[in-house]
């Protein structure tokens, strides 16, 4: 009855009931707020720079702390997925990015990043000592470090069983080494794609036959580098003694072990090594572009470059930076690594991935 009284009182002077706000206005409101609204979980204010990257990235602690005390900006890391997956997310969010800087574009995906409009041009000062062939002509991406992707093997496993270890790509399809190799899915993983590019550079047009032979020889495919290394590789307790990894994996193993006199169990097949350079770029539409540029400058600074080997087990891109002792002793520097031009990779990448998936499924 009360409702009826309220409605009676709402009658205007003409006796007609005052209209309630029409549904149309309400729906306009909702649509309008959907368009204008832009919430995000990461804090985007001038006191922090958000670095978007792939899972497992280790921020060099000391240089980051010094960066904060000098510029007053905290580095927030947003890391999930493998390199390729993280990059595609950045491309999909082009113009409305989740952070300010993206780190993790490497040689194999460089052309994909260059062709997109997800990055803005920035040419920092500190690029002395950098091999000019790795520089991005468009200026959108800055090289930060260098990692060489190779086929690694567990030398103690082979020594215990008195089996000769692999010395080339051809050895991986040898039946005596059947079911011993784990590679990485190239569709989303940067070292996985680097391995594919290296085989393509070695075998040329017959590379699909090589992949078919790999598949017939019982190769396993991991979803990412950390799965391959920490789950499938024999040094970590898995069942495969041959793994696609980095030339810096031996010193990484020594650093990771508790024994100071340890000798790494991992050895590198140098004829399978392909050089990879990792790039960083300022994201278009970033909330803090000046902080982003400052972070890239910082990544090229002496202290950051010197901290890279022991934090992420990669080599600094500036060749004059001194390496730590464990790297001098155990890191493998192949004399002539396979080098594939990023433009070639860009043209062939989709065909390679498609052919790989056809063969491996």
């Amino acid at each position: 009855m009360t409702l009826h009284r309220i409605r009676q009182r709402s009658r205007g002077a003409t006796g007609r009931r005052t209209r309630v706000v029409p549904l149309m206005a309400v729906s306009m409101l909702i649509v309008g707020s959907a368009v204008g609204c832009s919430d995000d979980a990461t804090p985007r204010d001038a006191s922090s720079v958000t670095l978007v990257t792939y899972e497992g990235y280790a921020l060099p602690e000391a240089p980051a702390e010094q960066f904060r005390s000098e510029t007053g900006q905290r580095i927030e890391v947003l890391a999930s997925g493998d390199g390729g997956a993280a990059l595609t997310r950045v491309l999909a969010a082009s113009g409305a990015p989740e952070g300010d800087v993206f780190f993790g574009v490497d040689t194999t995906f460089l052309s994909r990043a260059q062709e997109s409009d997800a990055f803005v041009e920035y040419r920092p000062e500190g690029l002395q000592g950098v091999d000019p062939s790795v520089l991005d002509p468009g200026g959108a991406l800055t090289p930060i470090d260098e990692a060489t992707v190779c086929v690694d093997y567990d030398q103690t496993w082979f020594a215990q069983r008195q089996i000769p270890p692999p010395t080339s790509f051809e050895d991986l399809i040898d039946p005596r080494l059947a079911d011993l190799t784990v590679v990485i899915d190239p569709a989303v993983s940067t070292p996985g794609l680097a391995f594919v590019a290296a085989t393509a550079a070695t075998f040329g047009g017959d590379v699909t036959d090589y992949w078919q032979a790999l598949s017939d020889n019982g190769v396993a495919i991991a979803g990412g580098w950390s799965d391959a290394w920490f789950t499938r590789y024999t040094v970590s307790g898995g069942d495969r003694p041959i793994v696609v990894s980095y030339a810096s994996s031996p010193p990484a193993e020594v650093v990771g072990s508790d024994d100071p006199t340890a000798v790494p169990a991992t050895a590198v097949v140098t004829s399978t090594c392909i050089r990879q350079v990792e790039y960083a770029g300022v994201l278009r539409g970033a909330a803090n572009p000046s902080g982003a540029r400052a972070l890239i400058d910082e990544m090229l600074s002496d202290r950051w470059q010197a901290a890279l080997p022991l934090s992420n087990f990669v080599l600094p891109i500036r060749s004059e930076i001194e390496l730590p002792d464990v790297f001098e002793r155990f890191a493998v520097r192949p004399e002539r690594p396979i080098v594939v031009d990023p433009a070639t990779i860009g043209r062939q990448r989709d065909a390679w991935i498609s052919a790989w998936r056809s063969v491996m499924e």
Binding site: R7, T88, G95, E98, I221, G223
Partner: protein, 543 residues
């Protein structure tokens, strides 16, 4: 007609329906088709020439057909047994049959994944799909058979048919339409299954639905993805069209059933065997995945532990800046509430529009079913193509996920609401007008009162669907704030028993929430009935 009724509530309902259809379905699907035409054609031809897409097409349709065949056999038998026979546990089997269907697919997929070590075979995938959809066939057959006179079977036995052919040549022959249309519906669901294929396929096995997602979000080949999405739309539309066509008038056959059919006990070993087998299969499909979840979530290395449950509160190791599983669950639940509200906001006016008779209403009915036809991945991808640049750029917005989930949920909730409105007498509104009711009062009488219970059920269904939704929201993932389905799938895709355990604990949490939400309308109903009976008791004076 006595007076000109105020038309604006009806106009408002039409506006909402048209706006929702255009924005939620038409624009995204047009975006997919136009992208496919401009960029996809050549790419698709190139891919087809490399015969990979042809193989994916064959596996997608093939697994759907095999799963449908299984579901048809088990569902028809179980439905017949439920209607004709009386056996112990009949109500339990009936109630349990719906569990694998209403439980979010990601929960079922996680449970099945935990049971199989290593790669999951196609057999397991097909069995999972069949068990999730057997209830569709079972209920369709049971509904049809309950309107068929059971004595024709007895007549057939008298005339010399054996026990099996008596049923199949009479009652089931009269239900062919129901069986066929439910079978096509099941085929559509199996074809467009996303969560199960992503989790169980493990990246090596794909169907068309998952391939659209991989091409769009992993390989960033929007041209191939749009071509595949267009292909998927065509196949699904063909299935849905066939389903509408075969729903032919069954009513002519079979005779009229008595109002209260008497069920008989199973006669003979073959009937008892059928009852036992079909009931066991239904109960197993309801209980096995959930039992596996409970087992996996609370066990580690063979011993019972709460570690996995505790790990829900911590960020996944290796990631940074990403929400913990518990946070992603809370976020998904909040977004699911928003999605449920948006769904009801569209579905209630849509039900009002569709429940009317007339050509326009029938057209609206067909069009609003379209998102269901187009599959969640196609809808999510369509939204991604349509709404990622000005004037409407939803990429940074938290509204994207609930909105696209609502687009997927509306047709399903609509199917719940429309039957309730169809029983309302059309002249009820005129009668209310004569008695002096204003437009809001008339709406309350003709829309709200019949829909009251269905709205609660519909909101619950919308919430559970949105909570576990994966296919559409997978195109809108944000690094820092994954939905709960993305988090479960992400954890399951990385080997390592800790991550598996966390994924199973999270899936169990989602499953328990789904059960809780579904029982809520029942509790509300019971409470309302208690309250009204108390009012009646209060008004009747004690004598």
């Amino acid at each position: 007609m006595i007076a000109r009724r105020s038309a604006w509530p009806t106009r408002a309902a039409w506006f909402v329906v048209v706006a929702a259809f255009v924005g939620g379905t038409a624009v995204p699907l047009i975006a997919v088709v136009s992208q496919a035409r401009t960029a996809g054609g050549d790419a698709l031809i190139a891919e087809v020439v490399s015969w990979r897409i042809g193989r994916i097409l064959v596996t997608s349709v093939g697994q759907a057909l095999v799963a449908t065949a299984l579901a048809l056999v088990v569902g028809t038998i179980a439905g017949w047994c439920h209607v004709r026979l009386d056996f112990r546990g009949r109500s339990l089997v009936w109630a349990a049959s719906v569990i694998p269907f209403v439980m979010p697919a990601i929960v079922i997929a996680a449970g099945v994944r935990s049971l199989v070590a290593g790669e999951v075979s196609w057999t397991v995938i097909v069995l999972t799909h069949a068990s999730m959809n057997v209830v569709v066939v079972m209920r369709a057959v049971a509904a049809r058979l309950s309107s068929v006179d059971p004595s024709i079977e007895d007549a057939a036995r008298t005339l010399g048919c054996g026990p099996g052919s008596a049923a199949s040549r009479t009652s089931l022959a009269a239900s062919v339409g129901a069986i066929a249309s439910s079978g096509l519906l099941v085929a559509t669901f199996c074809l467009t299954a996303f969560s199960t294929m992503l989790v169980l396929g493990g990246g090596r096995k794909t169907t068309l639905e998952v391939e659209i997602w991989i091409q769009a979000t992993r390989l960033f080949r929007l041209d191939i993805a749009s071509a595949l999405a267009a292909l998927q739309m065509v196949i699904v539309l063909v299935f849905m069209f066939l389903a509408a066509v075969v729903r032919s008038p069954d009513a002519a056959r079979g005779g009229l059933a008595p109002a209260d059919p008497v069920r008989r006990r199973p006669r003979g070993p073959s009937e008892r065997g059928l009852v036992a087998a079909s009931s066991a299969l239904v109960l197993l499909s309801a209980s096995v995945p959930l039992a596996a979840l409970v087992g996996g979530a609370f066990r580690s290395n063979g011993s019972w532990t709460l570690d996995h449950v505790a790990s829900l509160a911590h960020s996944v190791p290796g990631t940074s800046g990403v929400a913990s599983p518990l946070e992603s669950f809370a976020l998904s639940a909040a977004l699911a509430v928003v999605a449920a509200i948006l769904t009801m906001f569209v579905a209630v006016p849509a039900a009002v529009v569709v429940a009317r008779t007339g050509r326009v209403a029938r057209l609206a009915d067909q069009l609003l079913v379209l998102p269901l036809s187009a599959s969640a991945a196609v809808i999510g991808f369509g939204w991604f193509l349509a709404y990622r640049s000005p004037p409407v750029d939803l990429r940074g917005s938290m509204w994207a996920v609930p909105a696209v989930q609502a687009a997927v949920c509306v047709p399903i909730v609509l199917r719940l609401l429309v039957p309730q409105l169809r029983v309302v007498r059309p002249d009820l509104s005129d009668a209310a007008l004569v008695l002096g009711a204003g437009p809001w009062r008339r709406i309350r009488v003709t829309v709200w009162v019949p829909l009251r219970r269905a709205v609660f059920t519909g909101a619950a269904v919308g919430f559970v669907l949105a909570l576990g939704e994966f296919g559409a929201s997978a195109f809108w993932s944000r690094t820092g704030t994954p939905t709960v389905a993305q988090m479960i799938a992400g954890l399951l895709s990385r080997p390592g028993s800790d991550r598996q355990g966390t994924a199973l604990a999270l899936a169990l949490l989602v499953g328990v929430s789904a059960v809780a939400v579904f029982t809520l309308p029942e509790l509300v109903r019971v409470w309302l009935r208690l309250r009204s009976s108390r009012h009646i008791a209060a008004r009747v004076p004690a004598t």
